[in-house]
């Protein structure tokens, strides 16, 4: 699925490192003692059977959940826990497993919402939509239009997202995350519930985002074909424990991974 010319994504320094992170809800251990890193410019997949703790992991990274133990290092700064606003202003954006858009707003407005953190003019001007606020909006609109062009969703610009088919809603959600110009993009099952054609389109967009914007991507995905084609490195979780970490090929042959997915004879 790589563009001709081979993978040229610069896989460099560690952008985000998770060290010995544990999270439990009451007596349930969702994540226990997991460590891994995400390097700049790579596509990192997090896989595992149902209930493995993948989404919890993403929620820890962008501060939705606060782990009881462990550290998160993002861009050289170490936190015991992330706060959602720190994560967002620090350059972490995400999409959700179940689409979380403003259903009554148009695709355009939804993506514009992703620019909120980048708006600087004060509330008063914004209320009037005049002067500095207008100038700023024009600039933001331009960025948003570029994203619309990038994701090829021009024809639904003015359509309320509630009326859109699921595959397109997912694309709009990706657009909103991109509008934040993130350094790290977290995608929670971007292809869930899609047909083959939609999956291919989405895969193309994920690769393009990585290539064109140079965005580092961490994605959770169930479709093994997609994971193998897209990701540079894969981390495998099972029952909250990391059981494998490495290249897609390496992980595919790992006995622990095979057991986790297929079960073991007792």
């Amino acid at each position: 699925m790589r563009a001709p010319g081979g993978p040229e994504v610069a896989v460099g320094d560690v952008l985000l490192a998770v060290e010995n992170v544990s999270l439990s809800f009451g007596g349930v251990k969702a994540v226990s003692d997991v460590s891994f890193d995400i390097r700049k410019g790579e596509i990192r997949a997090i896989i595992g059977p149902n209930g493995a703790g993948k989404t919890s992991m993403l929620n820890i990274i962008n501060g939705f959940y606060q782990p009881q133990q462990g550290r998160i290092t993002f861009k050289g700064e170490t936190h015991a826990k992330m706060r959602p606003h720190e994560a967002a202003s620090g350059g972490i954006a995400r999409t959700f497993q179940n689409v979380a858009l403003f259903r009554g707003m148009t695709a355009l407005d939804n993506i514009m919402a992703g620019r909120t953190l980048k708006m600087h003019s004060n509330f008063f001007w914004q209320l009037l939509r005049y002067g500095p606020a207008m100038r700023e909006e024009v600039q933001h609109r331009r960025r948003v239009e570029e994203i619309i062009d990038f994701l090829k969703i021009q024809e639904i610009r003015r359509v309320p997202v509630g009326r859109l088919p699921y595959g397109l809603q997912k694309r709009v959600e990706l657009g909103r995350a991109l509008a934040m110009e993130p350094e790290l993009l977290l995608l929670d099952e971007p292809m869930a519930g899609m047909n083959i054609e939609e999956k291919e389109d989405m895969s193309r967009f994920v690769l393009d985002v990585n290539d064109y914007y140079g965005t580092t991507i961490a994605l959770i995905e169930h479709d093994m074909g997609v994971v193998m084609d897209l990701s540079d490195r894969v981390v495998v979780l099972d029952h909250g424990i990391k059981i494998a970490d490495g290249t897609p090929e390496g992980v595919k042959g790992n006995q622990a991974v095979i057991d986790a997915y297929l079960g073991v004879a007792h």
Binding site: I148, D149, Q154, D211
Partner: protein
């Protein structure tokens, strides 16, 4: 604009120079980019095209050479056509959605060395067939996205090519003088473009058109429809299709009107509304799609709006056509129609983007009278034309005020049409092609010895209106035993315009009379059955129902009346019909994948029914093998009823082919 203003310019580049002089500050092209309409004036287009031409020359494009243009309607791709023509090279546009196979064939056949392509998708497609087009050396692309990591040895950005040329033009006066010389050196008899036919029958052929012939033809139709520099058209049909090249490119350059390019193919309908073109073309399918969409939305509308809509559509049906044609209409009719314009037709046309359309054409296939009349009745000046690539589009077109849903109009200005012995339409026209590229054999086949072009379509001139009627492909037209022309598709189409009828097979070649076998439309007839308490368990049962037969009989009788009205067609009235016990299906090989009837196969498969139709029996038995969706096979047996029809009286000695 006076039609003779183009007389001085015998090539497209000269027309561009002229337009930049007289319409310099007027918009020539628009394109929606990043949500905003960008505009280029004629002067700006000329400047860009000049720079592009110099850039292309530096890449080695020479006079007489071909250059492929692959992609959708984008200004830079149109400029590619203009820039190539400026150097005397011949552009060869290729359909953007052509599969790799087709693309490879055209690129190889046209001997292209350079190709202007839209984006990564097209680049990938060409790269995948590279070994089959050994002559292709260089590609330049409009949209750079995704192409960064590609090998740029044989790949350039169009922007860079233009930039390069622009620098050369700015710094070196001799380049400017050289380019002026190149433009002046272009001759009217030079080929201006090669358009490949879509190739539904066999390999596609490259139709060579020349500058002066194209310009002649376009000048005639620009005068015919009174197009001026104030008109606007939306270029949304494929760039490689003769229709787009003629209607937008050639007519645009001749008249100086503005051509707007949609943001992308999916936004065309919205862009149409924003641009509000004054000249519009749409194939019947598009018009049908639009109407269906309107009707569905109206069904969902509130009670008052729905009532209002249906009432005023009724008013439009009664008076709209006559008002549009300038015929007398009672005062109440006029008042009601005026009110309707205010409340319904105006807003409706606005939604569809037709508010400013002055001239609209449809062509390509037969259009249903209801569909055609709907658009005319709400005040859209929709007309029909008939043409083909070999003619550079126009052969006939309906003049304002002489509009009929079942004709394609009289011959265009300076076009000479005749009907051959076998019913085939042949023409000579100002824009006609000079030959198929590298295929003299095919060229000779397509021409008569005295220089007429054979269209391959059968038709006749209507007595009342003097308009041409196209009835079928000439090779499909048969004859009844008494020698009457029998065009199956013409009869089938007339029946298929009824919503209740889905598919029709007309029989009659080498027979005594015409008989038809048809499929009812399960959705339409099913909903009729529901409303009229007709109980049925399957298609077969519904199809055999006596009330359904009665209903279809009425339709057939109407078709017979309309056939009887034409003296050429009167002999082909339908004498007997039956409703098939199963739907014709592509899985059973009865239809092609594009839903066309496979006559030969059906004749064999339904031989017992056909025998029944012609031996006078009241019913016939049939059992056919069917393939279910999961691949299993089964047999359906049925006894199918056959109905006799009364035919309309025909005046003596009529009904024979001329």
């Amino acid at each position: 604009m006076a039609p003779n203003a183009a007389a001085g310019a015998d090539t497209f580049p000269k027309l561009l120079v002229r337009n930049a002089q007289i319409f310099g500050a007027r918009p020539a092209m628009r394109h929606k980019d990043l949500g905003i309409w960008q505009t280029w004036t004629w002067a700006e287009v000329l400047q860009a095209v000049r720079a592009y031409a110099v850039g292309l020359h530096r890449l080695g494009l020479k006079r007489g050479e071909t250059i492929a243009i692959v992609g959708a309607n984008r200004p830079r791709l149109y400029w590619s056509v203009m820039a190539a023509q400026m150097l005397g090279a011949i552009p060869v546009p290729v359909y953007a959605d052509a599969v790799a196979e087709e693309l490879a064939y055209v690129l190889a056949h046209a001997d292209v060395r350079l190709a202007a392509v839209e984006d990564q998708e097209q680049v990938d497609k060409i790269l995948s067939v590279m070994e089959r087009v050994p002559k292709l050396e260089l590609m330049f692309y409009d949209e750079k996205r995704g192409l960064r990591d590609y090998d740029h040895g044989r790949l350039h950005s169009m922007e860079d090519v233009i930039e390069e040329g622009s620098k050369a033009l700015a710094s070196d006066p001799s380049v400017r003088a050289w380019l002026d010389g190149e433009i002046a050196a272009g001759k009217g008899s030079d080929p201006s473009i090669i358009l490949y036919t879509s190739g539904t029958t066999g390999a596609s052929k490259g139709v060579v058109l020349t500058n002066e012939r194209s310009i002649h033809a376009a000048t005639d139709t620009v005068a015919f429809d009174k197009l001026t520099e104030n008109d606007v058209a939306l270029a949304y049909l494929p760039l490689a299709w003769v229709g787009d090249h003629y209607l937008n490119y050639a007519q645009g350059l001749v008249s100086g009107f503005c051509m707007a390019c949609p943001e992308n193919a999916d936004t065309a309908m919205q862009d149409l509304r924003e641009i509000g073109p004054s000249f519009y073309f749409a194939p019947p399918r598009t018009l049908e799609l639009l109407l269906t969409r309107v009707m569905i939305r109206m069904e969902d509308a509130g009670f008052l709006k729905r009532k209002l809509f249906h009432f005023f559509i009724g008013v439009a049906n009664r008076y709209g056509e006559r008002i549009l044609n300038g015929q007398p209409v009672p005062l109440t009719g006029r008042l009601l129609y005026g009110l309707g314009s205010l409340l319904v037709y105006g807003p409706l046309k606005n939604v569809l983007g037709f508010s400013r359309v002055r001239v609209a054409y449809t062509a390509g296939e037969a259009i249903g009278p209801d569909l055609f009349n709907f658009y005319r009745s709400i005040g859209l000046n929709l007309k029909q034309l008939y043409g083909q690539t070999e003619a550079f589009l126009y052969v006939t077109a309906q003049p304002d005020g002489e509009i009929y849903s079942d004709t394609v109009g009289p011959a265009c200005p300076n076009v000479d049409i005749r009907i051959a012995e076998n019913g085939e339409v042949q023409f000579k026209s100002p824009g006609m092609f000079t030959g198929y590229f590298k295929d003299d054999g095919k060229t000779a086949e397509a021409m008569t010895p005295d220089g007429y072009v054979k269209t391959g379509d059968a038709g006749f001139f209507d007595e009342k209106t003097g308009h041409l009627k196209i009835i079928d492909r000439a090779k499909d037209v048969g004859r009844l035993k008494d020698g009457t022309l029998f065009p199956p598709k013409y009869i089938e189409n007339k029946l298929k315009f009824y919503p209740n009828i889905r598919e029709v097979v007309a029989l009659g070649d080498q027979c005594d009379f015409v008989a038809v076998m048809l499929n009812i439309d399960l959705t339409a007839v099913g909903s009729w059955a529901e409303r009229n308490n007709v109980v049925y368990g399957s298609y077969q049962e519904l199809a055999g129902h006596p009330l359904v037969y009665d209903m279809i009989e009425k339709h057939v009788a109407e078709v017979n009346r309309s056939l009887a009205a034409d003296k050429v067609m009167a002999g082909t009235q339908i004498k007997r019909f039956l409703i098939l016990h199963k739907e014709l299906d592509a899985d059973d090989g009865e239809l092609t994948r594009t839903q066309k009837v496979r006559r030969g196969f059906i004749a064999e498969r339904y031989a017992p029914l056909i025998k029944g139709l012609y031996d006078g029996s009241k019913e016939a038995d049939i059992s056919t093998e069917v393939t279910f969706e999961d691949g299993r096979k089964g047999v359906i047996s049925a006894r199918v009823k056959i109905r006799d029809m009364k035919t309309e009286p025909v005046a003596a000695a009529l009904g024979k082919a001329a």
